[in-house]
């Protein structure tokens, strides 16, 4: 598969390219790149990207925390679904169990601090990546690398010291998760001396291109019932 230039620059050791190889076709990549963040279906990520882009239009800590919450929702759902599927074994199952509990704790922490301002959890379709150990491993590498880079981009925008301290605490845990799964995937845990941040618009674009975030299927109708009566 071919990644767009912005992602190739970030993905120096091809971990993301390999991870999303199955879920991201060249056509989808090009479509996502051409459409831009405003057209993405990942409404929470894209909306927050517009509201508080790191380029300078920051609107406050709430937007940053909701963005972080969205990323944590994705990870928590991914690991929880994998654990429930029960197809992982050995060290990979241990990683999913421990990291999934961490991600759920992160979700709980953000929801607690945001209260009624917390965005709702999106719906997900992980497209079989939680049900195939090889696909799980690759996707987990990508998620953890993305989380680390996304936190790095957003942490400097936080203004309240309490939020900053918590975000730093979570960021380092995400980095440990990334190293852990990279080790299990046979990828160098620390690929370089300096990590780069990944702007949220680019994170949104990448997440959208996976098509993991979906809308709830329409299961409520208003048509006349054809039921037997």
């Amino acid at each position: 598969m071919s990644l767009p230039a912005w992602l190739r620059a970030y993905d120096r050791d091809d971990a993301i390219a390999e991870a999303f190889g199955g879920a991201l076709s060249r056509r989808q990549t090009l479509q996502a790149g051409a459409a831009g963040a405003a057209a993405l279906t990942v409404h929470a990520l894209a909306a927050d990207a517009r509201a508080a882009d790191s380029s300078g239009a920051a609107t406050g800590d709430v937007a940053v925390l909701n963005y972080a919450l969205t990323l944590e929702y994705i990870q928590a759902a991914f690991y929880s679904e994998a654990e429930r599927a029960g197809v992982l074994h050995g060290p990979l199952a241990e990683q999913a169990r421990v990291v999934g509990a961490h991600e759920r704790a992160h979700v709980a922490a953000f929801r607690r601090v945001l209260g009624t301002r917390a965005i709702a959890a999106p719906r997900f379709d992980f497209r079989g990546t939680t049900e195939d150990p090889a696909a799980f491993r690759k996707t987990a590498v990508a998620f953890e690398d993305l989380a680390v880079a996304a936190y790095k981009d957003q942490i400097p925008l936080l203004r309240q010291p309490a939020f900053l301290a918590a975000a730093v605490a979570i960021h380092s845990v995400e980095a440990r998760h990334a190293a852990w799964i990279r080790r299990l995937a046979g990828v160098l845990p620390a690929a370089r001396a300096f990590d780069e941040p990944l702007p949220r618009a680019q994170v949104a674009r990448l997440v959208a291109s996976t098509r993991f975030v979906v809308s709830l299927p329409r299961t409520t109708g208003t048509g006349a019932p054809h039921l037997t009566g």
Partner: protein, 255 residues
């Protein structure tokens, strides 16, 4: 951990956070100021990680993303069981109840599912959308003429019902709620109707295949009773209440 050791560790952590805050402040170009130990103590309370609960009442359903053929075994050459469409006769998304899965193969994962019509079959994972989980279950007792909704195994709703007459009985078995219909113009179904995956055996010529519903009525005086064409009828206040408690994907046991 000894209390003194813990206090020293917390102090060290607060100092490290103060340094991080200073760096972050300079990166952001805004005035934040160093994080004091007091500020660090006011940080977000991160709850302890908790393992997933083993929930015996949790079931998952998935929408049909692409029309497909359900098969007797998890392989493309196996005997077909049923054609599974993307939509229902009411125009809503078709859904199946997911019961299990095959091992990952080069051709992908297959899922064992309960299908519309009551049969079981294997579907390719790629034909389905994302999972949704529910912890509710509806039990329809044809002898006692009651419907009971359980949440996490505990009853949260019970109401009298009318079921199929002897010539068109409500089928016994395990089914699930496929969709919810509201705001239609048909008084005989009351204000709300749940479509289920069950098919009434006595009405094979019914439009759209004769699927069994759970709905209200314009003849509440017939409840409880055995008067329907296979559907489960509730009084309108009861179906409204059930509409607030039961969601699509809820397993339905008729006994």
């Amino acid at each position: 951990m000894p209390a003194g050791h813990r206090t020293r560790l917390l102090a060290l952590a607060a100092g490290a956070l103060a340094g991080a805050a200073t760096v972050a402040s300079s990166l952001a170009g805004s005035h934040v100021g160093p994080v004091t130990p007091r500020a660090a103590a006011q940080t977000i309370a991160i709850p302890p990680p908790r393992p997933l609960k083993a929930d015996p009442h949790l079931v998952r359903w998935a929408p049909v993303a692409a029309a497909t053929v359900a098969r007797e075994e998890p392989r493309a050459e196996a005997r077909p069981v049923a054609v599974v469409a993307r939509g229902t006769p009411e125009g809503t998304a078709n859904v199946v109840l997911v019961l299990g899965r095959s091992h990952a193969t080069p051709a992908g994962v297959w899922l064992r599912a309960r299908l519309p019509g009551g049969r079981l079959g294997w579907l390719p994972r790629r034909a389905l959308g994302g999972y949704v989980v529910v912890t509710t279950q509806l039990v329809v007792d044809r002898r006692r003429l009651t419907a009971t909704l359980l949440r996490d195994g505990r009853p949260v709703f019970r109401a009298p019902v009318a079921v199929g007459r002897p010539s068109s009985p409500t089928p016994a078995g395990r089914f699930y709620v496929r969709d919810v219909l509201r705001d239609y113009r048909s008084a005989m179904y009351g204000p709300l109707a749940f479509g289920t995956s069950a098919r009434a055996p006595g009405v094979t010529d019914w439009p759209a295949g004769g699927f069994v519903g759970i709905h209200g009525t314009d003849h509440p005086e017939l409840i409880p009773g055995r008067v329907s064409h296979g559907c489960v009828r509730l009084r309108n206040p009861d179906i409204r209440r059930l509409g607030r408690l039961m969601t699509v994907g809820t397993p339905v046991t008729v006994r």
